[in-house]
Amino acid sequence: MPIWNRILATVDEHDSSMQAVRYLAGVLGGSDACRVRIMAVYQAPEPDAHPQQEQRAAAAAQRKQLLLERLEAARQVLVGARIPAYNVSTQLQESGGRTIAETIMAAQRQGGFGTIVVGRRGLSKAEEFLFGSVSNSIVHNATDCAVWVIS
């Protein structure tokens, strides 16, 4: 059974996700009533796109580093808003072949998070059609938790 004050906030390479974290900091700032897990989903570079092993390893390292930096920046935003550091944790989660939204939903279920916080990038219809929308997918598939979509 998800617990309402366990919050899963997601970050990625887009500024909209940091915007969502800043919003969360504004809402929760100064409170020790919630525990926040900040999660970034790592998707390994596809071998077809990077056939050379070294090239693929370099792309993977670069991608992971970017996400780790995002996680730390988000953590500092929350701690800087006087949310106790012991209530804020970070997680770099490998997707393992799943989509980003599927990975987030799996983490929500596994961790019993009662609230998911995601940013919305403001995709055009064409982008949404081709690339899909993480926030839309989470809103459509979430059944036992609240979803905050921050535009």
Partner: protein, 322 residues
């Protein structure tokens, strides 16, 4: 590579050309240097080259594809298509969207192995040359692309709708099911287009060809394939690409009724709400097309979702010819 005079007679016999020399090629890395009459030797099998293939869809812009060769099997003379290793990475424009695209010989080789014996896909094998290049040797399909097949039906659209559309979409449904199956194996076609669906004149099978494109789509892994399927479906329903220009030229009575939501979200001048152009189309079929329009509230994410709505829609079409 070496010259092999003893090959000359057989190569002449197979190609019907007065070749002056024949080279036996074991390393295909420098594919630009290959010429008609050259004999490729790949893992003990031989193929004599006839020439390069051309990109056949764009009329005057036709360009030779030097990494794709027409060839004949050395043993029995059956026609083959030989795809040599050519890596490229480029931006593909889809309307206003740019997508990073990769050509991957290993992906195509993997899918060829996966679809072996499946008539819904082109057939072939992957052989290694002396430099370990993954060369794909494909069976040539005796037929042409879907658009050519549909154009051969001489009738106006109303007659096409009443006599042929049910059969055409029933065949198309099988081809869509094949793509759904591919997705369920964790693979994407990568370049779903109407000229990548071939109609075999001998067997009647509709087979997807060319699987070597790939993309890194993080959230919607099958989005590009679905976009292609939507375009193929719209083409098959209308038997043409229906653009704003086509409506103005040929269906002026429909032009005023068109709204921005009736068009593709990606190709902005392509009409997806075809019922406004062909009013006799059933709602159920048009509703499937509307999922590919700008006005759609929810887009399909899986082929199965489309098939679940397309199957009953086909059952509502006029019986037509078997």
């Amino acid at each position: 590579m070496r010259e092999a005079p003893e090959l000359l007679e057989r190569a002449r016999e197979l190609t019907g050309r007065r070749l002056k020399q024949v080279r036996l090629i074991t390393d295909t890395t420098e594919f630009m240097n290959l010429e008609p009459g050259d004999v490729l030797e790949l893992q003990g099998r031989r193929y004599v080259l006839k020439g390069s293939e051309y990109e056949g869809r764009f009329g005057l812009d036709e360009q030779p594809k030097y990494w794709v060769k027409r060839a004949l099997d050395w043993e029995d003379g059956t026609p083959k298509i030989i795809k040599l290793v050519f890596y490229e990475e480029f931006d593909m424009s889809l309307g206003e969207i740019t997508v990073r695209c990769y050509r991957s010989p290993s992906k195509e080789g993997r899918i060829l192995a996966l679809v072996k014996g499946n008539p819904n896909f082109m057939q072939g094998i992957t052989l290694r040359d002396a430099a370990d290049n993954q060369v794909r040797v494909l069976d040539r399909i005796h037929g042409g692309p879907l658009d050519q097949h549909l154009q051969e039906l001489e009738c106006d659209h109303r007659e096409y709708y009443e006599r042929h559309l049910r059969r055409v979409l029933s065949k198309l449904l099988v081809a869509f099911e094949a793509i759904a199956w591919l997705h369920n194996q964790g693979e994407r076609h990568g370049d779903v287009r109407r000229d990548h669906l071939f109609v075999d004149r001998d067997s009647g099978a509709w087979s997807w060809i060319d699987f070597d494109y790939n993309f890194e789509f993080r959230q919607n892994p099958y989005g590009l394939d679905l976009f292609g399927l939507g375009n193929v479906l719209a083409y098959a329903v209308a038997r043409r690409d229906v653009t704003h220009h086509v409506v103005r030229e040929h269906y002026p009575q429909a032009e005023d009724a068109l709204a921005p939501d009736d068009f593709s979200p990606v190709i902005r001048n392509r009409v997806m709400n075809l019922k406004k152009v062909y009013p006799y189309l059933p709602e159920s079929l048009n509703n499937v097309l509307l999922h590919f329009s700008r006005g759609a509230g929810v887009f399909y994410e899986r082929v199965e979702e489309m098939m679940a709505e397309l199957t009953p829609a086909i059952a509502e079409l006029p019986q037509g010819e078997a």
